[in-house]
Amino acid sequence: MKHNLQDIGESERSRSAGSGLAISDQIINHSRSMISIINKDYVYEKVNATFCREHQIVSEAVEGKSLADVWGGDTFRDHIKSKVDLCLAGETVSYEASFNTPRQGTRFYEVVFRPLAAGNEGITHLIAETFDVHDLRVSQQQAEEMKEQLRQFETNLPIGFIRCKPDGKILHANSAFKRIVSCPDDIQLVNMNLKSFYPVEVLYDIQIEQLFELRTKTFGRVFLKNWGGDEIPCRISGFLAMDELSRPSFIDFAIEDSSRELMLENRLLQAQKLETIGALAGGIAHDFNNILTTISGYSEMLQEDLPGESPESEKVSRIQGAVKKAQSIIKQILTFSRHVEQEKIRVKVSEVLVETIGFISSSVPGNISVENSIKEADAEVLADPTQLFRVFLNMMTNAVQSMEKTGGTLSVNMEVVDGKSVKSELNRDIVADEYILIAFKDTGKGMEPSIIERIFEPFFTTREVGKGIGLGLSVIHGIIAELEGEILVSSKREKGTTFYIYLPVSKEYEETVREDKKRKKILFITGNKHESRILSIALEKSSYDLRYTTDKNDLLRLLTEIDNRPDLIIYMSESRQVQPADMISVFSQLMIEIPCILISESNPDMIEENLLNSGIIKQQLIKPVSLKEIRSTIKELLG
């Protein structure tokens, strides 16, 4: 053994003493670390017993050999030499490496190089000590992995988790909680107070009081304020942890967002409520129909008994007018309560939607823009197109009204969605593989939750007394329910309202109507082509030849030419170009007898009365006219 251990390090040297040499030797030899002495020529001068045991060699196999010989030139150059040089320059170098030993395989080791100075020569050697840190590292790694798993678990869990001091100071919050309260990612919740998420702070204090008493408790429905200030229904479970002296230490809260649960619950309640009101209203309407029929019957008899132009006859007309108004309300109630059967045909929803947008666009004020996006325009449903028109018109009119003062955008979107997603979204049984989803979104003033809850109830209105009787949305609800669809609303104050309508896509095979050479000609006299387009969509599948005119001269021409003369005329009262007086003059001028249907608003005015009394009109229908009504009226008149 050439190396003089007397020179080991500064501190070692201070101990000196000749007998210490053997002891040092022994310590080195019996150390559980691998120890070697390397000289400045990178040659092993000594290795201890542990080194030999771990590498399963005898010391002579290494002693006198260079590091490059022992570890290979590349490894020496790339991984060892620089560290050895640093140590020879006087620094203690430590690093971690994993390497293979014949006895134990690949393990983690910590290697420390310490410089050794000999007398005046400065640093001539270094002592390399290699500790096995494998078990430590492995357990550290396992701990890290476990920590990461926990972190992931906590992040992915849909349940919010909060640990806080009893006074509410947050110690830890997981990402699910941040999601629930819509907290931006870059905001740290630690050190904030949980109380600030309660609408009233005292609510938190009450919960804490109960936790102090019971240690653990679940609060079924608590409303928390989210980042935007909206209230989110939550289910909160708390657990109070004590320290070793049984003093309250911290509280763990598990917080679940129960918005969906609450929404579904509310929706079910709404549906049940509407069902009950519907049954009640339907029953009343039934009795009222009998009463109205009696009243109108007697007044018709009375009318017959009275001289035509008498004041008494005028009063009876007033009674009949009131009966008609009552009839139209009854009709709406019956639609809401689904007691009116709709006649259904296959309709391309997009066609009706486009006509409705066209219809309303002309009357939309300049500060409101109407946008639309229609995907899968060929999708069809089984419905009465006139009823669909009514639904869409109602949706758009409401949206426009809500933005009248402020201006804004009405967006109408139509797409086809998978039935399965509808099932999970609506939590109801589905009747089709696909549904058409139409969304009417406005940027108007929005609605309070208390109003949203009731908007589909009949006679519920937010308008001033006397303006509308509040049947609109209840009727819409009835129509959609009859089509086995669904109507939903979501609204935010000052942000706007969106109505969603789901309609089951129909794929049933339908017989196409045979082309009939002698098709009866029907002429529409109309003011708005969009509205009569809806009626024509409705009648398209019947075998009629449909024509339109908005113009008096055109009407005259069509009626004069024998080949073009219609078999039936449908006169829509709103047509401005052809006034009721024009109708009377044209008919008397040409002396023709063509059955004519008048479609008018609920209260015919005096001019219309004249037309009605002139005998030209064979049937009067009051808007909204259903497909069933128009079809059976046409059939009756054409035979």
Binding site: G282, G283, I284, A285, H286, D287, N289, N290, I291, L292, T293, T294, S296, G297, Y298, E300, M301, V323, Q327, I330, K331, I333, L334, S337, R338, H339, V340, E341, Q342, K628
Partner: protein, 126 residues
């Protein structure tokens, strides 16, 4: 003059129709429900029946079937108001069972009477 049976459980309405038909010189028999209608039915003097569809004690559909059995040539007009079982489907069913015409309440009395006169004059379903 032709004889008409009116089957309607609403007394006011039934009487109104009866009054109107008597003004036109029809012979009118009234029944408040289906059971009464079948009991009081006189095939020899009844040419047409106006029946409500939803009534207590034997509904209108049964009345139509029974009367057709008793007098195959009888003309039938079915009327129905909204409510309860859904008038649309009932009326369609009535038509399928052989009603010559169907009316939804509320209907115009003059329309009904015109139709009745038409049916009885021409012998056609109207």
């Amino acid at each position: 003059m032709a004889g008409i049976l009116i089957v309607e459980d609403d007394k006011e309405l039934r009487e109104m129709i009866a009054v109107a038909l008597m003004r036109r010189k029809f012979t009118v028999i009234e029944a408040a429900n289906g059971k009464e209608a079948i009991m009081h039915f006189k095939p020899s003097i009844t040419d047409l029946v106006v029946t409500d569809l939803i009534m207590p004690e034997e509904d209108g559909l049964k009345v139509i079937m029974k009367l057709r059995e008793l007098k195959p040539s009888i003309r039938v007009i079915a009327i129905s108001g909204g409510g309860k079982a859904g008038p649309g489907s009932y009326l369609n069913l009535a038509k399928a069972l052989g009603a010559d015409a169907i009316y939804s309440k509320p209907f115009s009395l003059n329309d009904l009477i015109d139709r009745i006169e038409n049916m009885l004059n021409t012998g056609k379903p109207g």
